[in-house]
C-alpha cells in the first residue's frame, strides 16, 4: 500500500506492506536511533513522536502514520545534545541503548510540563526501562538539567 509519511519534516512517499511496523519503517529509512528492546510494548526504547505525541513505534502499524508527522531523535539533535549532556555528566547513559527512547519521552515530558516534580518524572518515564543505570543517575541528570533551565549550573559544573 502507498503511504506518505513525514519523517523529521521530510516526506517519504513509498509502498509498504500492510503489516509493516512504524519502528521498521523508520529504521529502514535511516532513523537508527529507534531501538527495539522487547517487541511487547514494555521497554520504551522505540518511543517516537507521532503528531507530537510520544508513541511506542513497535506497537504502531506504519500505515497509521500515513500523512502524519513523525519525529525521531534524528530530528531533535539539538535538544538531544543539550539535555543528553546532563545525563552524560552523571555517567548515566551507560550502554546507551535505551537512551534515545528515554530522551524522546523526557523531551515530551518537558514540553508538557516544563517544571515536573520528581514523582511526576518517575511516573511519566516509568515505561522507559533501563537495565544499566538504576535510574538514580538519570534522575540526577534531569534535576540538574531542569535547574539549569531555571538559571542554574551545567551538569559539568555540578560534578566539579
Amino acid at each position: 500500500m502507498k503511504v506518505g509519511i513525514y519523517v523529521n519534516g521530510k516526506k517519504i512517499a513509498t509502498d509498504i506492506a500492510p503489516d509493516l511496523l512504524l519502528i521498521d519503517f523508520l529504521r529502514n529509512h535511516g532513523c537508527k536511533s529507534v531501538k527495539r528492546g522487547c517487541e511487547t510494548g514494555n521497554c520504551g526504547l522505540c518511543t517516537v513522536f507521532l503528531e507530537d505525541k510520544p508513541v511506542l513505534s513497535c506497537a504502531v502499524p506504519a500505515a497509521r502514520a500515513d500523512r502524519c508527522q513523525v519525529v525521531t531523535l534524528e530530528g531533535l539533535q539539538e535538544e538531544a545534545a543539550e539535555f543528553g549532556a546532563f545525563i552524560a555528566d552523571q555517567g548515566a547513559e551507560q550502554c546507551g541503548f535505551c537512551n534515545p527512547g528515554l530522551l524522546m519521552n523526557a523531551i515530551a515530558l518537558f514540553r508538557e510540563n516544563p517544571d515536573p516534580a520528581e514523582d511526576e518524572i518517575r511516573e511519566y518515564l516509568a515505561g522507559n526501562l533501563c537495565r544499566c543505570s538504576g535510574y538514580e543517575g538519570q534522575l540526577r541528570g534531569m534535576r540538574t538539567y531542569l535547574d539549569f533551565k531555571k538559571g542554574g549550573k551545567t551538569g559539568h559544573e555540578v560534578c566539579e
Binding site: 522487547c38 517487541e39 550502554c95
Partner: protein, 759 residues
Amino acid sequence: MKYVNKPIRKMDAMALVTGKPVYLEDLPDAGYLIVKLLRSPHAHAMIESIDAWTALAVPGIEAVYTWEDVPEERFTMAGQTWPEPSPHDRLILDRHLRHVGDPVAIVAGTTEKAVDRALRNLRVNYQILPAILDFHEAKDNPVQIHPEETWESLVPVGADNRRNLCACEKLSEGDIDQVLAECDVVVSGTYHTKANQQAMMETFRTKCFLDPYGRLNIVSSTQIVFHVRRIVAHALGIHKSMIRVRKPRIGGGFGAKQTAVSEIYPAFVTWKTGKPSKIVFTREESQIASSPRHEMEISVRVGATKDGRIRGMDVYTLSNTGAYGEHGPTTVGLSGHKSIPLYGALDAFRFDYEVVYSNVMSAGAYRGYGATQGIFAVESAVNELAAKLDMDPVHLREMNMVREGQAMPAYYGEMNTSCALDRCIAKAKEMIGWEEKYPRRILENGKIRSVGVGMAMQGSGISGIDVGSASLKLEDDGCYTLAVGAADMGTGCDTILAQIAADCLECDLDRLTVLGADTDASPYDSGSYASSTTYITGKAVEKACDSLRQKLLTEAAGVLSCPTAELCFQGQEILQVEGDAKISLADLAARSQCGCEASFQAVESHFSPVSPPPYMVGMAEIELDPETGAVELLDYVAVVDCGTAINPNLARVQAEGGIVQGIGMALFEDIQYNSHGRMLNNSLMQYKLPSRLDMGRLRVEFESSYEHSGPFGAKSIGEIVINTPAPALAHAIANATGLWFKELPITSEKIAMGLKQRK
C-alpha cells in the same frame, strides 16, 4: 592526578545520548542473509526426521541446516580461558534436544518474511523423552541428559555425564562438625535462588562476512572477542587465523555476553555459503535460550558462642546448570569462596558443592557469578543468627567481619590486603539512621517500617588466570593510540583506561584514542568479565605507559646527546632537568618516521596472582503493608570499598545499576517453567524488570581502601554491587513480619500468604 578519581564524561557519551548509529544492527548490512533458528518445542526429545524440502522451496531461502550438516566436535559456548572448565557438551545443532528452545535447524534467506515462512514449513518428527525439570532429581537419574560418548570435560572439576553431574567438590578447613557442636547457637537454613535474566536492553546479535582474504569476520555484541574466536574456530573445525572478531558499541551485557550465545549460527552460515549473514535474537529467544543466572539451593549452618563470636560455617550448594554446562563448574565455587570469607576468624569451615544438568535452558554468567547466590544465603543466616543471639546484626558483623591484614582460608588462601569494610558499615549505619530505625516501627495506618542489612565481597579478576594487555603507540603528532582487548559494554572502561593512561603519560585525555576489542588489532585480553578490566587491564595500561615513557626517554637521549638519567618526561615534551636541551613529543614522533629504526610503541600484558576483593555494605529501609504483603522500598543505602574509584561517576552508576538489578532479583524477577518445561516468563511483559517506580531512593557512598597491586590503588566495582539487596531486603522483611523468607523472589503474595498462615 588530573584524571584518575575524577568524574570524567565517557568519551563516547554524546554519540550514545544523541542516538548515533553505533550498535551492531545500525551498521550497514544490505545483502546480508537473515539467519533464524527453529527451536525445540520439547524439553527433552530426539529428532527422528526433518523434512526440509518445502522450507527450501520458499523463494529467497539460501540454506537450511540440520544436525546432519554440522561438525561432530563438541564445544562449549562459555567464554573462559582455555582449557575451559565448562564441559564440551554442545554441537552447533544436535539430534538430541535438551530444553525448550534448543536449536533444531538453522534457516538462512534473503528476507525475514521468507525465513519465517521456511521455519513454518519445516516438518520435524520428535521422539519425546522424559525430562528432568526439578534439579533436585537430576543427579543419578536414569534419564541421562548427556549420554553421548563425545561429551568431554577438559578440566578435573568432578564432572560425570553418566550421573548428570557437571561438577562437584568438597573443601574444608578445621573440624566443622566439632566446632558447630561446641557452639552455643547454631542457625541452619536452606536458601533457594532462582535463575534470573540479565535482560540487557540489546539482545544477542552477530553479523558475519568473508573478507578479501577469505577470512571469516565476526562482528558481535560480545564481552569476549578472543574467546569467541577460539570457540567458533573449535566449533567449525577451522584454524583461529581464519577468524577475526570485533565488537561495536554494546547495548549491555552483565555477563550474558560472556557466553557465545549467538555467534556460531551466522558464522556457520557464512562459512558454508560464503555470503554475509546476520542473526538478531528476539526478546523471546533472549529469554528462553540464552545464559541466565544459575539457580542454586544453598544450605548453610553457622555457629557462634553466646557472646557472638562466629566460629564455624558450613555451606553446601546445589547448582542447576540446565541443559549445558556453560559456567556451571565455576559459578558455583563463588557461592562459598566469596561468602564465607566475609567472616574473618572462623575456627572451621566446610564448602561442598554439586552442579547438575537438567532440561531447562543452560545457565551462564550473570554479574555476581554465584557470589550473589551464596551471599544471600550466608548473610541471611547471619541475620537470623543475630536474632537468635538477641544481638544487633550490625554489631554482630562489627565483631566478626574480615579485617585488613587477615588471611582468608576460604578465599583461595589469599591475604586481605586492602579492606575498608569496617568503615563501610559504620558509614552505612550512620546514613540510614540504623540506631533509630532498627528493627521496626509500626505506623498508625498499620504499615510497618523496618530496616535490613547485608555485606558483600567479590573479586578483582580471576587470580593467576585473567590476562589483560595494552598496546600504546605514539603517533606522529604527539598523540597516542591505546589498543585494548577489553570490551566496553557500556560500563565506560574505554574511558577509564584512557584516564589511567592520561595520568601515566601526563597528557590531556583528548590526546588519547582508544581502540576497542578486535582480535586482529588488540593485544590479548581475556575479556570484560570477572570484575577484571579496571584491575587487570588497567594495570597493563599503566605498565605500557611506563614502558613507552622509557623508550621515548632513550630515544630523546640519543637526539639530545645526553644521558637518559638527565632527562625528564613532562607530558608533551622531554627536557633536561638541569640544562636547556628539550624536545617535544611531536618532534620526536615526527623523527621516528624518517630514517629511524626505533618503534614508539609498547605492548605490555598483566596478570595478578591475587584477586583483591572489593567490599560493600547495603542497608534497606522498607514500608510493608501486612494486609497485602506489598513492600515499598523507601531508602537504599550502600557504601562501597572498590579501592580507588578511577571514575567516581561511573563507579557510582555501576553501584546504582547493580543495586536495582539486585532489588529485582530479591522482590520479583523470576524464571518459571510449566510442567512441560516451557518458560512462563518469555517476554518483558511477564518477566518484570524494576522500573523507576520500584527503586525508591538510592544513596551510594565510597569508603576506599588502597590496593597496592591495582592501578592507582583500584580494585573492582562491576559485580559486587548486585550482592547486597537480596539479603538486606529479606532481612528488612523479616524484621517487619518475623518471617524469614529463604526463597527468592520474595513477592507480595508470598509475604501475604506467610502472614495469613501464621494467623
